[in-house]
Symmetry: C2
Subunit: 236 residues, 2 copies
DNA sequence: TTTTTACGGATTGTGTACAAGTTTTTTGAG
DNA sequence: CTCAAAAAACTTGTACACAATCCGTAAAAA
């Protein structure tokens, strides 16, 4: 019943992802393979894989023979990310409104009731997990397999940046209320309503993140633009 | 003036990507690291990096300690991919209609005239390159940096599957005409028109691909679904 | 003084060997 | 003959060593 042992590379990827999301690195900071390998107690091989994965997801930038550098998202970028996420999910939801099968609606209701139960018990972790299922079911109900995969991948990429909003007061209760409305609109096959509801439901996450981290990032935002400008000049 | 030598891993990635797009592998076929390393004349280290990159882009699937398996897209998936691409580009374009700066419009006109020149000389390669610039400029004009990057990345991922449509007769001339209309609508800041024009402009690429490869893929499509079903059963 | 070039140190890219895990074959009992 | 368990063969995951490349510094030339 225990999980099959995960490769070290994946674990390291997740740790680095969290560290970047939580701001443990400065923007533009170089991630030294040798040093990090020592810190994590592994060789450079799995660590390099993790770095490449980070770059694939846009969290770092890699220059051949020069190394990989963190791209710490400022608050503008965070908003942009959730904006894109909201649009993708809204598109999924609009398609799902007319394409979802009875079985898929059943699964959605089930996931929603699981969220409800978690809310009753005030179990943030459980709510978070079932919330993820609820959203993923909508992606799949869109009927476009590729879109569903891409949206799911995007959700995974933003997960690290969404952790903070768990602790925003009353967010869970409000989220649940939004889920109820989304489900209702889906059952009514009201595509425009579903699209709007889901877009707002996802978008709000960026505003909570902003509230949570803005003071920090506003200060660092200016430095970021300077660095980005000089970096651009040196690489072009 | 010569290009800085590319790492072997990147070159191998591109070759494998093309091979998958061109159908050199069966769907579900395992990509043997040792064997491929021998064929490409490199060690397993850079080859593994290429495989991981393929998986990150959804062209293959990797199971820990079991290997990576190709996910050859059937024609349904191809259509889905261009559908998503069309929607992303359309969104960029709609935003660009109201947000593009004068400088960005100038660059767009420049890229369009480059396309025009390439068309006059019947230089498909050049047209293809300037076409890419034209589209990328629209992404950037959206004003959402993250969206621009993601759309650009998606374009890169679909590039391998778009090669075929270069050879569809009159496609270049029609594409150019579409560019002209898009540019005109952008200058007029007519967001709804731009959105619609770009969506159709991108969408049509999937239909040409479909015409080009459908006979093949229709036959293999059935086998694909069978395999996918059995694979699902074995991994769950 | 300013620019160019050569060198030294450090870091990434790749090859190879071994460890860990998976699949297939073999072997034995029922 | 069938099925289960064990072992052999094979494949991926990781460690480590060396090669290729880049960066900074300092010396030399303009």
């Amino acid at each position: 019943m225990s999980e099959p042992r995960q490769p070290a590379a994946k674990l390291i990827y997740e740790r680095l992802e969290t560290m970047i999301a939580e701001g443990h690195f400065k923007d533009g900071e170089r991630l030294d393979e040798t040093m990090l390998a020592q810190e994590f107690g592994v060789s450079r091989t799995p660590l390099r894989e993790a770095l490449r994965q980070l770059t694939a997801n846009g969290l770092t930038e890699t220059f051949p023979n020069r190394g990989t550098f963190v791209r710490r998202p400022d608050f503008v970028r965070i908003v942009e990310m959730f904006e894109v996420m909201a649009e993708m999910e809204a598109w999924c939801a609009r398609l799902a409104a007319t394409r979802a099968t009875a079985a898929q609606l059943l699964l959605l209701r089930h996931a929603a009731s699981r969220c409800e139960a978690a809310l009753q018990e005030n179990d943030s972790r459980a709510y978070y997990a079932h919330n993820e299922t609820f959203h993923r079911l909508i992606y799949e109900a869109s009927g476009n397999g590729f879109l569903a995969e891409e949206t799911s991948a995007m959700q995974g990429r933003l997960k690290a940046f969404r952790q903070a909003q768990l602790f925003v007061p009353d967010r869970l209760a409000r989220s649940m209320q939004e889920h109820r409305m989304i489900l209702k609109a889906l059952e009514a096959q009201d595509a425009p309503a579903v699209e709007r509801l889901v877009r707002d439901h996802v978008r709000i996450q960026s505003t909570t993140y902003q509230e949570f981290r803005a003071p920090d990032d506003l200060a660092e935002g200016a430095a970021w633009f300077d660095k980005a400008a000089s970096r651009k000049a040196s690489t072009v």
